[in-house]
Each structure stands twice: as structure tokens, then as C-alpha cells.
Symmetry: C2
Subunit: 125 residues, 2 copies
């Protein structure tokens, strides 16, 4: 944690994969994290090329923290690791679906998933 | 479609909800779209405040197209509408989980979901 981005060897991601990515203005793709087995959507996190490279080559979900501006191995401080079973890129290259074995709670609040706050919606048909 | 953003009345979103959002540098939150019933993760799209407002008040999933730079009612051209059953915001306000009844295929390629491209991953435990 607390790595200096300037020191980390950047862009070790396979260039064939890197060429498919469509990034946000700050160089990130969205990573939807789904639980293996239950299929529950646990959280959304962000990856730059290096975080995706680390995820694919270590099998431990690794993200880029927008708030802390550092790489973040999920579970490194909480013990709530995510062991990656599958990663799929979407048709336009701006999102990943990461299927994981989740240890403990996915959310830092202790909840199973991060999606607690239901918004009022008018249902149509 | 093809609206001029300058003409659209912006920011009709409930200010209580707007205050919770943590947006990308271009003003967007990620919307994970999940199918009601199957629980399948169908796609990822993007919403600005106005797209979220329209989604919540019409019950039809409405996104901001980053490539076309316009609002986009899913299904308006394809007929593959998404009727919204539930919307939940995550704990840090940068992602929405939108549960929908999907008409037809979610992906413009005709596939059920947009996540076709499996990437090679080393699994750990």
C-alpha cells in the first residue's frame, strides 16, 4: 500500500488486452464484482492497466483506489480477500465482470454487498 | 435522441440523491444492469444526474452515451427496453445497481449479455 506510482513498473498488461480497453478520462475501467455461486453483485471497483495485470496474474482482485490514489489488494488489510475465478471484458471495453470467491463481507461497512441504498423508482411496463 | 445538452433542463434529480453521488471526472456514475429473475449481469452503462432522474421517474432505463454524447433510452431504437424494477446506490456513491426486466437481448451484438470476452486468469486460493 502507499506505493509511489512513479516507481511501480507500469503497463505490464498484455498489449493485446490493453488495446481493447476504453478508459475513463482518468485511465480506469469499471470492474463489476460478482460472487461465484450466489451470483450476487458485491461491489464496483476500478482498475487501471496495471491493476488488471496484477488481478489476472495473481488471481487476487486488485484495484485502483480513486480516493486513496493507490493500488489496493482487496482484503490486504481486512482479510476479506477476493479469489478470482473468472474475468470477462464487455463488448465496448469499458467494463470488466470479475467473478470471485469472497472471503467475509465485500463491503467495508460489514454488509455482504455495497448496494444498500435503495432509491425510489416509478416502475413502468 | 440527438438532443442538445444545452437545451435539456439539467439536474432535475432530487438534490438529496444528487448530494450522494461521486462522479467520474466527466460527471458520470457507473450503472450495473442486472436482470430481474435470472440475476445475470447484462451490461454496464453510464448515468449523469439527468439520466438517473429520468430512469427513476419513468421506470425506463436511460443512460448517457459516452460515445455519442447524448441521452439514450435503452430500447428506443432496438425495441430492447429495460423496465426498471429496482435501483440501489452503493456505499460510496459511485455506482448504481439497476435491476430490470430486459426485453430481448441486452447487447447490441444480439447476445444476452455484453460480457463475452473472457480474459486468461491465474486462479489463486
Amino acid at each position: 500500500m502507499g506505493e509511489n506510482r512513479g516507481v511501480v513498473v507500469k503497463n505490464d498488461l498484455d498489449p493485446v488486452i490493453a488495446a481493447k480497453l476504453k478508459r475513463t478520462p482518468d485511465g480506469l475501467v469499471a470492474a463489476i464484482v460478482r460472487e461465484h455461486g450466489s451470483g450476487d453483485v458485491l461491489m464496483l471497483a476500478w482498475m487501471d492497466d496495471e491493476a488488471l495485470h496484477r488481478t489476472l496474474t495473481t488471481g487476487r482482485a486488485t484495484y485502483w483506489s480513486r480516493s486513496r490514489q493507490e493500488y489496493w489488494v482487496k482484503g490486504a488489510t481486512s482479510g476479506h480477500y477476493q479469489f478470482v475465478r473468472n474475468v470477462a471484458l464487455d463488448c465496448d471495453g469499458d467494463a470488466l465482470l470479475v467473478t470471485v470467491e469472497q472471503v467475509g463481507a465485500a463491503c467495508h461497512t460489514g454488509e455482504h454487498t455495497c448496494f444498500h441504498d435503495e432509491l425510489p423508482v416509478v416502475t413502468a411496463s
